[in-house]
């Protein structure tokens, strides 16, 4: 008996040192919604961030130290704050990547700014995150305004000609779930659409927990639009499209300025009927190799390979976002900093300039300086437009320099969208 105890005691002693976090590592807080309504998106985003960390560690980490991600759960706004605080105060973390949703990012960055911690907003689009003049907040991917505006621009510049119409001839309907996500993007879309003199014939917010979206469908159908800009979350998006199909609502152009329609689940549920639909996201998916610098291209490929190998499927939209935001931070921002203090990191992120193609995104990076209305946002962070083709969303059609696929419009009626 005694011998057994001593043996196990010794065993435990040998294991313990491995539990302790190595001295040569840097802890980075990754606060995302791992539970709750956005759990799936949060987990996917984390996969992207984690792969970015692993890849950077393979390349020597940052300043010789390995990146260790420490998770915090931002399931609700309240917990986003609590968890961020916990990581700052209990784990002593001063570098953050995460939050996912705009409202969570907003409240959590109030905390990080208070403590002078660096916050890299991996993906969260609301404009007003960066409208508070915070010094330590950076938003490497696009803002809602840009997403919404670019989508409208795309409709005006690329889609309209395909329909043989001028933008001012277009009838546009906008439908969106009425939380901050859908609202901010759709408002920006509407603004830009008006600039192009498009006719907005319907603007329909709805509650995302609705059990029936046929009223929205009917109202839009009655307005008979050429273009429908739809910004749902995933579940209500599926319901909407199914009920649109029932009703025979089939605009010539359907664009989701916000991203959720890029989820594979739509393909699973609606099959070929998804073809021709357009989605705006930042993901570097289906891009032309030639448009990138070799190093960036390599990194991108490595990400796709690793993800596919580990999770047995191609990277999701959210995973791309997570990776892209984190990679800009881990690979460019952090190593360039003189040291890993928030102030030095801030200087690095502020001065970092990447031209399109130098980074793994289709856009480059240039942080808005202090004093700018959206200090910390990426001035040139514009999203891409993808199209569902042949049952898959991975077809980049805009910006054209990066695109491999061709834009195909107008969208045929339901049931007639199969592509060879």
């Amino acid at each position: 008996m005694k011998r057994f105890y001593f043996l196990s005691f010794a065993l435990i002693l040998t294991i313990l040192p491995f539990q302790a976090v190595a001295q040569d590592s840097v802890k980075i807080g990754c606060v995302l919604p791992y539970t709750g309504a956005l759990a799936w998106q949060g987990q996917e985003t984390f996969r992207g961030v984690q792969l970015a960390a692993e890849m950077q560690n393979k390349r020597g980490g940052v300043h010789g130290k390995k990146i260790v991600l420490v998770k915090g759960d931002s399931e609700t706004l309240k917990t986003a704050v609590t968890e961020t605080e916990r990581l700052i105060n209990m784990e002593g973390i001063k570098i953050f990547a995460g939050w996912y949703s705009s409202s969570r990012a907003k409240v959590a960055t109030t905390v990080t700014e208070k403590y002078g911690a660096i916050a890299c907003i991996v993906i969260a689009v609301a404009d007003d995150i960066t409208e508070r003049g915070y010094k330590y907040v950076f938003q490497p991917q696009g803002r809602a305004t840009l997403w919404g505006e670019l989508s409208a621009e795309f409709v005006g510049k690329e889609a309209a000609p395909k329909l043989g119409k001028k933008p001012s001839d277009l009838k546009v309907a906008i439908a969106y779930e009425d939380s901050d996500f859908g609202t901010s993007i759709s408002v920006a879309f509407a603004r830009k659409a008006k600039e192009y003199q498009m006719n907005i014939v319907a603007q329909e917010p709805y509650s995302l927990s609705a059990l029936d979206l046929s009223p929205v469908v009917l109202r839009i159908k009655q307005a008979n639009p050429d273009v429908l800009a739809l910004t749902p979350y995933v579940r209500d998006g599926i319901l909407f499209l199914q009920q649109a199909k029932d009703a025979g609502l089939s605009p010539k152009v359907l664009i989701c300025p916000g991203g959720p329609l890029a989820n594979d689940v739509f393909g699973e549920k609606l099959g070929d009927d998804m073809n021709y639909m357009l989605v705006t996201t930042c993901a570097s998916h289906d891009v032309r190799k030639e448009a990138f610098q070799p190093e960036a291209w390599q990194a991108l490929q490595e990400f796709v390979e690793r993800y596919t190998k580990e999770f047995k499927k191609p990277p999701t939209n959210d995973a791309y976002h997570g990776f892209q935001g984190a990679w800009t931070f881990f690979h460019y921002g952090l190593p360039r900093a003189k040291s890993l203090t928030p102030d030095d990191i801030e200087k690095s992120m502020r001065s970092l300039v990447l031209k399109p193609g130098e980074n793994i995104t289709t856009f480059g990076y240039q942080a808005a300086p202090m004093g700018h209305k959206n200090a910390g946002a990426n001035l040139i962070g514009h999203p891409n437009v993808f199209q569902w083709q042949k049952g898959s969303i991975g077809h980049l059609v805009y910006p054209k320099e990066f695109a491999k696929s061709q834009l195909m419009l107008p969208m045929p009626a339901w049931g007639q969208r199969a592509m060879k």
Partner: protein, 609 residues
Amino acid sequence: MRENRSMAIRYILEEIRHPKAYLTLIAVGVLYIVVLSVKNPYWGDILTMTFLLGALSLSWNILGGYGGQFSLGHAGFFGIGAYTSTLLLIHYQISPWIGMLLGGGLAALIGGLIFYPCFRLKGIFFCLATLAFQEVVKIAAVHFRGLTGGAMGISIPFKAGLANMMFQGKTGYMLIALSFMIIIALVTLVMARSRFGYKLVALREDEDATETLGISTSRCKLLAAMISAFFAGCLGTFYAHYSTLVDPYSIFDMMLSVEFVIFAILGGVGTVLGPILGAFALVPIDALMRGYLGQGQQGVSFFAYGMLLTGVVIFLPQGILSWISSPLNRLMEALSGEKTRPEPRAGKIEPQAERAEKPSRSMQPTSILEIAGLDKSFGGLKVIQCLDFHVREGEIVGLIGPNGAGKTTCFNLITGFEEADAGRILFKGEDITGLKPPNRISKKGVARTFQIVKPLAGLTVTENILAGAAERAGSIHEARMKSRNIVDLLGLWEFRDIKASSLTLGGRKRLELAKALATEPTLLLLDEVMAGLNPTEVEQAIQLIKKISNRGITLLVIEHVMKAVMSLADRVVVIHHGQKICEGRPQDVIRDPGVIEAYLGKGYQYAEG
């Protein structure tokens, strides 16, 4: 007046010496010291949320625990307060401290307006209505984007300073939240010991019985709702400044509403400590679990809350507090060296002097109660037809008749529990026919007991009687004095701290009588008080009723026990099929052939009685 005040001071001084009081003061002091010494903001956040949720639970408790109206939509008031003060701050630069009061006021107003009509709804329906209320407010907040910022909510720019209710560290927030919690707890305590408090818990136990005591149950519920909503609204302002963002999906969250109800239930509804205990037990654990369990945490958290709620409701309905109350009480006794609370000393308010005989009646005794041409039908059945009789001041009138004759219905008509189809009821010359609700009639001086006694089961005997005295007394001390007298009069002293539900039938009947007497009625309606009593108890009851009559109270008594009727009644009225068939002295009435036929059927009319 002077005497009342000095009595009050003496009372308070006595109270403070009691272990309950000084232990509480010590506990509060410890809490403040803890708050001031906590430096780690993570713990600071947990404590702030604990205090905030505890305070919210306490606010809810005023209406839910004490008033028995379980609202599941209280987060609605929380949010109304938050939005109001935030909008006032952003648009008109009004200080959050003032905005808080305005927000609380608006919440109270809306609470009163919306909950008042809903109080008619019983139990579960009321719950559902409050749920719907919260949902509607949420939908409105999301939809009217121009006003409320819609789903994106409103941000409050961070600016440290007491004036702005924002602080750099957590200490400031903790202090405010703790102070809120203490204040609301104090308010609850004061309320519980006031006349209003006794009325509130009385109506929670039995609304009809409480109406009979002259208490307007709807007004009490309204006041409780408004106080409860006011505090919830004020807390909303605090939360807005703590989280710097007010958005509808977070603040009008159904889970939040349910959460602080769970705290109160777990700790013990209807107590001051209960909600605090519940919050302290659950909030920190939940936060810690979230931090260290990670993935499966939310599921575990929901599951734990659910099991706790179901478990407490089934096995420990009075909450944790009831569990620890006996050891706590023992501790108190050990510390103070005496059993239970000190009783109020007999004061200057003397019981009416006992009179050996009835006072001689004046030549023209006035008619206290007059029933004329009363009709009442239920469906197709005519229960009361053309009923006439009267009761003179100081009399004891017996109302007898076979079962189903309509006697209790008659009482219900007099006291406002039923509405007559035709006819008039005059009390002291005033027409009270159809007067609703019952408390208005009771207030005029008509008290009654119920055939199936309605004790306020969860309350002690003293509290029962206090509820009766509360309406007429000028102060809580006067009420306590009067209750003490009644307790003595009815021989209930040894039962004074026992819960009414634990009394025997005889005890409950005495309590029923005591409650009625506490309202100092002019006319007392007794409905089969003797039923179920053994001969000794019957004799005691008869003596009691004689004592009551000697005090000048007029009595109308429904009875089947003939011995009582014979010894008590000055006059007897016989009802059969809802009509008066005979009237007169007891000894004459029982020999009347018509009466005998009514009771025993034809064939017995000529039997010697």
